[in-house]
Amino acid sequence: MVDIGLFTQIVINGLLLGGIYVTIGVGFSLAFGVLEVVDFAVGEYVMVGAFMGAVLAPLFGAEGVFVIPIVLVVFFAVGALIQPLIHHVTTGDRPHPLLMGLVFTFGLATFLRGSVLTIFGPNSQDVPSSLLTGGIEVPGLGTFPVVRTVTAVFGVTGLAVFMYYLYRTRGGMAIRAIAEDRTNARLMGININRYQSIAYGAYAALTGSAGVFIGMTFNASPGMGLQYTAFAFFMVVLAGMGYLPGVIVAGIVLGLTQSFTAVYISGNAVLLVLFAIIYVVLLVSPAGILGKGEWAT
């Protein structure tokens, strides 16, 4: 009854979709786990990245790929400047520091979405790419859409780079020390403001360029941010808060669940199933499906 060709294609679709989520999950996991920032603006970074792709690509021969270096630099700089604000509202003698962080980034998200909507209008825009078109057909398996495959590779590479940075470099050590204990890190002579800014900048840069890829895969629209914020939260919940390697597993689970539900159960039930899984995972295993996240409050 199950068609093998369809089945393998669904697996491919699911894995590549998971790859797209990995591109968002990596940076967000870093922000969530290391900086302890619950960032509601994550999806809007994706959206702004996609719009930068749509606006700038025509300047580079209608090729979105060439916009990515610019997006990386711009988002890193902007992220590095936003982090001190977030740090400021989540520390000090404020009531509800967590809520303040949440709401601050919510305000930032509203600002970004509203600004893009006001400037560009509500329509979606194409992020052109002539390099990443069509699909590669692998006989016996199915079709690998080029743009999605490249996006997934980008996500996994991004994860590898982050892991290398965090575990193999001095800067990464500093960031991990801050994650362990801010006060101790300060005592050890680490400039926590600087390293937190670097980490947040790196997160923003990765997420913004993920936006360009997502724009090339789908398109850029002012309202797209909300769903990617949702998926970013899905990713950290499944991966376990702050457990970077879990992001890959979370991406695979999320992608496959989505594609199998859509095809074998009902397209209409996809989001219901995903949200229900998130709720249940939080109740049953708040440290993620691998149980390796930190169960902090």
Binding site: Q9, P122, N123, P128, G134, S259, A262, V270
Partner: protein, 424 residues
């Protein structure tokens, strides 16, 4: 502590100022008194929020009518005198609750009649307000069949419900050679899109064509899975009900996975600039449904001589080609204009005038550039203009639409079956 004292004073001042503003605004709202020598039409439409694009289209349609009649005829002639037309806007903010408030605001401002919002959800909350205040309401855009099933007494619509548009466009497509034997139907799970998808399925079933699958899904889903399942079923045609964003996602995924049925039929809005911008290289050859495009052959009549004359005027005024929603909105104005002439009552309209206007609208037949407008009375299409012919269109290589069906209206040959993605 002096600072606190200042605070208090500022606070009181601001409260006072706010109260005064609100009060004045409220009193202003009571205005629009009897001494008015213009017809005041209250337009409720989404000028902000997700539906702003569609709201802007209806706004251009309504303005087009008002500007033209005021410029060319000095307004509406009643018993020898000419009364200008004034359209006042209230923002429905793409949200039913704000839409209802906006309608109420227009009624409060003394509007003689209402021009309706964009989108069915907002319309469904505006209709009861028109009903409760006994004020005529014509919408130039909402297409969900639900609106007419409710049997509202005071609400009318110039665009046929989508259950007719979708059905007729599908039927026209199914007549193309080589005759399709199977279709795959998808739709987004919101009212308009579901109604569209249902009408497409019904048309296919009625034509005896195999419906391989019928599936609804949320807007924010990933379309590769939809496409893979469809690809596996290998239908002759893919029919899709949704808004522009979902069409774009569907064709992107189809091109990425190399899914090429003989054609895609999608409704709403494949002939909008928005679809062309979003879908980019994937836009050409898409089939769509409409009830009006500039090249359609209609006799014209009141206010605009022909569809092309309207299109040229609109292009000159706004720098963009009008679509059928804009035309339907302008037609709504034209219908009012003709009905008001027949009513022959000077503004402002009394309640009796308004009730009489409803009777006139139920009987009216207006020949416009948009087509002949008449409203059904009774039944599931109560007060909907269902007589305007549906057109099957296809985008050409440059993205411009050609009418390819039904046969008696076609102005060009379809490119069918459409070329595969890699052969374009």
């Amino acid at each position: 502590m002096p600072r606190k004292h200042d605070d208090r004073r500022t606070f009181l001042k601001s409260v006072g100022a706010a109260a005064t503003t609100v009060g004045l605004a409220g009193c202003a709202g009571l205005g629009g008194g009897p001494e008015r020598d213009t017809f005041l039409l209250g337009a409720v439409t989404s000028l902000s929020g997700d539906l702003r694009f569609g709201g802007g289209v209806t706004q251009r349609g309504y303005d087009m009518w008002a500007d033209t009649i005021n410029r060319e005829q000095g307004g509406i002639e009643i018993g020898g005198d000419t009364y200008e037309v004034e359209v006042e806007y209230a923002d429905a903010q793409s949200n039913p609750s704000a839409g209802a408030d906006a309608a109420s605001q227009m009624i409060n401002d003394g509007a003689d009649a209402l021009l309706g919002p964009y989108s069915s959800n907002v319309t469904l909350s505006v209709c009861p307000i028109a009903e409760q205040n006994s004020i005529p309401h014509i919408t130039g855009s909402a297409e969900s069949p639900q609106i007419w099933q409710e049997g509202y007494e005071y609400s009318f619509g110039t665009i046929p419900t989508v259950s007719i548009i979708g059905n007729e466009a599908t039927s026209a497509l199914l007549n193309l050679e080589p005759q399709p034997e199977s279709v795959y139907v998808t739709g987004v799970n919101e009212p308009f899109s579901e109604a569209t998808a249902v009408s497409m399925r019904t048309a296919a079933e009625d034509a005896g064509v195999t419906v391989e699958n019928y599936e609804l899904f949320p807007r924010d889903t990933d379309y590769t899975n939809v496409v893979s399942a469809a690809q596996n079923a290998d239908p002759d045609l893919h029919l899709h009900g949704g808004h522009i964003g979902s069409h774009v996602d569907l064709v992107s995924a189809a091109s990425q996975l190399g899914y090429t049925p003989n054609g895609f039929l999608m409704h709403y809005g494949v002939n909008t600039g928005s679809y062309k911008e979003g879908a980019g290289a994937q836009a050409p050859y898409t089939f769509g449904a409409t009830v009006w495009i500039p090249s359609v052959d209609r006799s014209g009549g009141v206010l605009f001589d022909s569809p092309q004359a309207y299109a040229d005027a609109a292009e000159a005024a706004y720098g963009s080609a009008p679509d059928y929603t804009q035309a339907g909105s302008t037609a709504a104005g034209i219908v009012y204009q003709e009905a008001l002439k027949e009513l022959n009552a000077a503004p402002p309209l009394s309640q009796d005038d308004k009730d009489e206007l409803i009777g006139i609208l139920e009987e009216i037949e207006v020949n416009t550039f948009y087509g002949n407008v008449t409203f059904e009375v009774g039944g599931e299409y109560h007060h909907n203009n269902i007589n305007t012919q549906t057109l099957l269109i296809q985008l050409g290589e440059d993205g411009s639409p050609t009418i390819v069906g039904p046969e008696d209206a076609a102005t060009g040959e379809p490119n069918y079956p459409v070329p595969a993605w890699d052969e374009r």
